[in-house]
Symmetry: D3
Subunit: 125 residues, 6 copies
């Protein structure tokens, strides 16, 4: 069944990107609207992230940049964790934020850098 | 001399990214405000693009995404040309736009795809 | 007196939309700038919401959508309460958020859905 | 077959919303990226617009508002035509734009009103 | 009569800011929606610009900056003309755009600078 | 040495704008990325704010407006403090926010006014 495949593929992508803790944090959406949850998994992660043409790291370059640009800092947090999980280095994330400064201005870049710094600390001993 | 180095490095990056035609199109800014032009070259291309931690292709992933997200379609045009010039494929650009659809919505992604399509045609026989 | 009519009409609209609690929460603006408060009531609620061509529910469709699109989540909260108060159903609000996902992307839609879910809980026993 | 159903439902919605002329104008996307076209039809129009909980007119209230708010004026044009086609009146559209002025400011509202006026003229004898 | 005073004050402000040519260009809004036109004049120019606490030049600093930041370049054009008309210098406008570059990024600042340059040319012999 | 001059000039501007407390709050950026910190000081405050063509008060008109327009309320807080420190009055700040209401809509203006009110209180006995 086609729909199940989309949902399953989305679930697999989410397993790669997010820790169990993050995933259960997302689950409150499922209680409010099971249909919306289905779209997030099947379309957002299945149809989009599940495509082969780019690696997950390349996709996170895109995701981190668009979230920073639109000022969606709560989701940026989630995806900085995801980026580290799939192998981006702290240096790459810092560098991405610096590159953004020239394109979106310092206020959003500074805020993103502060968030990244907080997250990096939690990975230290 | 430090300042000259920043400006020179920026000039080198611009040579890699932009054709002579695009570069002369940008020069009208220099006539309006030589100081602003200096900032674009020294800070924008020298300080930011000139850093070693990311490749130019990685930087264009960031640039294309932020321009699409903020709806800066004139500059997007310039950077789609730049991306192709430094070795990104048409497929990669299409894929980047598709990934953005889930993060910024279809209106901006559709507009970007239309622009990309127009540019791709000019590279065909 | 014309001005008073605009202010009075605005006050009536606010009575319909907002609980006493919400209204007193808004009053801190009046202390900071009585003139600005007068504009909010006379122009925002009197001149705009007070027009006959649309119902309050139709106006809240517009208000919820624009607030979600611009990421003004604090005001979105206030207007989800208002929407329920004037007769929109929880299902309609969920549906509006889902429709927005395609136009503004998932990050803002997910954040709005989370906020809506929190509010819906407070209306349960 | 599930996927076909999503695509077919999307096609039906597009028939209701858009004239043949508008639909063929959209088809250039299909040539650039058949996959992206499929997402627009199956997800955008099938999954979102194809849901029963809201009428098409209610959905266009949302669409017009989000496009105006994000300054996507090319798509706004397309959806003002669509709104008139499915039965919204010119007065309703004017009223929606006026309500938006208070929420997004006059610049975008004035631009939208100018666009609406141009379109309304084409419907006169 | 109060309303008339607001409209009259707005008309006076518009006379100071805009040439006859610009003012008649704005009048198409009045044909589409006389009520919206009244709001623009009475609220936008009467209530806001008509206040005494700031000079028109100080208000144009605010207006130019917000228009550049939100990418409302058509209105930016109108207000660059207005700014020059009420006594801002070309150097001040260039400087304002440069300051914005750090806060909104180069793409919007470059676009604004190009627009300013075009306008400045029309004031030369 | 040129670079040092840019950094020193930036440091001087920051001394004028920000209290010691605010400045140390900003220093966490330096720990995360010394290079980014150098750009903020040398480019943001040295190259931009350090130019002679506008006064610091004129620059804060621009900064407050762009921060309000882009919804960067955390940085708005910092710059309302800075504006008061360099001699803007509370009335000027209120007036700037009122002027913005017509250009960006009430939601962001109301939020900014609330923030300003909170800050003004801390300056009272």
């Amino acid at each position: 069944m086609e729909t199940n495949n989309r949902y399953e593929k989305g679930t697999q992508v989410m397993e790669e990107l997010f820790s169990q803790e993050v995933q259960s944090g997302m689950r409150h959406i499922q209680e409010i609207s099971p249909d919306f949850w289905d779209m997030i998994v099947s379309f957002g992660f299945g149809d989009l992230y599940g495509r082969n043409a780019l690696t997950l790291v390349q996709r996170e370059y895109i995701t981190l940049t668009t979230l920073l640009t639109q000022g969606a800092f709560d989701q940026l947090k989630v995806h900085i964790h995801a980026s580290l999980r799939i192998g981006m280095t702290q240096e790459e994330i810092i560098e991405l934020i610096i590159q953004c400064a020239g394109y979106v201005g310092f206020p959003k870049a500074v805020q993103a850098m502060g968030i990244a710094g907080e997250i990096f600390k939690t990975y230290e001993k």
